[in-house]
Amino acid sequence: MKIIKQLTTPIIQTSWLADALFAFIRFTCGMLLSIDFGASKFGVPWTDADRNLNLFEVSAWFPEDVASYGGIFAVAPVFFAWMGAFSEAVGGVLLAFGLQTRISSFLIMCTMLVAIFCQHWGEGSWQLLPAMGFLWMASYNLYFGSGRFGLDYLISPPFKTTQSLKSNQ
């Protein structure tokens, strides 16, 4: 459980304004990733009905796409496709609300690295830009965690300790 606590506990900035700025970027990118990129290929409650996707089901075309990357992706395309789609659709929401921010950031970083180097490499800078943007955003969230404005902060030991100290006064 110690490692879970370490992963959950965010690094707090000196100024709450910095935390608010990070949270705004995190929320915007997380929701965009989940609603636009993730829900188009993964079955979640906010997926359009005309996609015909059941809950936690990945689009039929995506494993075929992943298999075309070759190497280890051709060995287990369903696994990698499911993990990539899950990272975007569910990981995006977790990141937006700052719940298990570091775990979701890690999953998103892995997905974006694959998207950059296996899917869009050689298609020019504009095609790489969305994946690179999400990669940069996830990378500093992997280090900082949710900051003050996220669910991780509310469930992490420092916040609980502060609250119990206040209630004992």
């Binding site: 005309d50 996609r51 015909n52 996707l53 059941n54 089901e57 039929a60 369903v78 696994f79 496709a81």
Partner: protein, 134 residues
């Protein structure tokens, strides 16, 4: 903590067993295109966005009864919302230049579709789409 590796194993096995992949349905589509109003007819075919079609290579149609109507039947395995395509003459000359692609919307079930059209004409009166669920 001991249950965590077990949980991860279960998730991985479930995913590897393909049960989390959307099911595709067989769409058997017969394309018919009337080329009687085209002057130089050769190598009539189709290009589109869904395998076995592609936008880079033509799949050729045939006119077995020599009536100027070229036909082709293809099987598609799809879970998607539809197919976009264009007919091609002379292997690489697309119809409907600077216009929208032809489109066949799919329903999420196996189906047999007959698509009848006139080359380079997207009018509703000239295009017939018949569908039957299998």
């Amino acid at each position: 903590m001991k249950t965590l590796p077990l949980l991860i194993c279960i998730v991985v096995c479930t995913i590897l067993c393909n049960s989390c992949v959307q099911k595709t349905h067989l769409k058997t589509i017969t394309f018919s295109v009337d080329m009687n109003q085209v002057d130089a007819v050769s190598k009539v075919g189709i290009r589109g966005d869904l395998k076995p079609l592609s936008w880079d290579e033509t799949i050729f149609m045939t006119d077995d009864d020599q009536n100027g109507i070229y036909e082709l039947t293809l099987d598609f395995h799809s879970a998607g919302p539809g197919l976009e395509f264009k007919f091609v003459n002379g292997n690489h000359q697309f119809e409907l230049q600077d216009k929208d692609n032809r489109a066949i919307p799919f329903t999420y079930q196996p189906e047999t579709i007959n698509y009848t059209a006139t080359f380079n004409n997207l009018d509703d009166a000239e295009t017939v789409l018949q569908r039957k669920a299998n």
